[in-house]
Symmetry: C2
Subunit: 98 residues, 2 copies
């Protein structure tokens, strides 16, 4: 049914409110074959990603567990009118059905 394999469930968190991504996490885990979902974010969206994971875990997918959290840095192209590329922090939260 699903085109994705169970380990390719990645949710990219952006500037929308956390509940948008909570829905994404809950939907991803709704497939019985899905055992792992990864939530990725950069910059200010890092807080939104943590919020979404916490809301999903506490309110909706009780059998979900955080199995790994990794942080890192990515180089982004310069903003218009600037000459230096920017470094931006990233987070990757791996969730597992327990």
């Amino acid at each position: 049914m699903s085109k994705k394999s169970s380990d390719s469930n990645i949710i990219y968190v952006g500037r929308k409110p956390p509940m948008n991504y909570v829905l994404g996490i809950v939907t991803a885990f709704s497939g019985a074959e899905v055992k792992e979902v990864t939530v990725k974010a950069r910059g200010q969206a890092i807080t939104t990603a943590v919020d979404a994971v916490e809301i999903a875990r506490r309110r909706f997918v009780k059998e979900m567990k955080v199995s790994k959290i990794a942080i890192g840095t990515e180089e982004m192209p310069p903003r218009e009118g600037e000459s230096n590329s920017r470094m931006i922090s990233t987070i990757e939260i791996t969730l597992k059905r327990s």
Copy 2:
């Protein structure tokens, strides 16, 4: 010299720019006996905490490693004029000298 034991080095990240907390991390690790530092933040400061850890790791304390990251939720008292308590996300990043 230090009043704190080596495992009680906790840095609370708030609303200041990341560099303020980078300085805190670098200073904490400057004690030869310090093997572990924990960086804690809530809400929007979560991004600042990740930024500070990443800057410290990349630019200043190369032998530093992220040994553990935990996320959670805390209940905060209601804002003035509101009646409901608020849930706020938290992060705890444990750093080790490698």
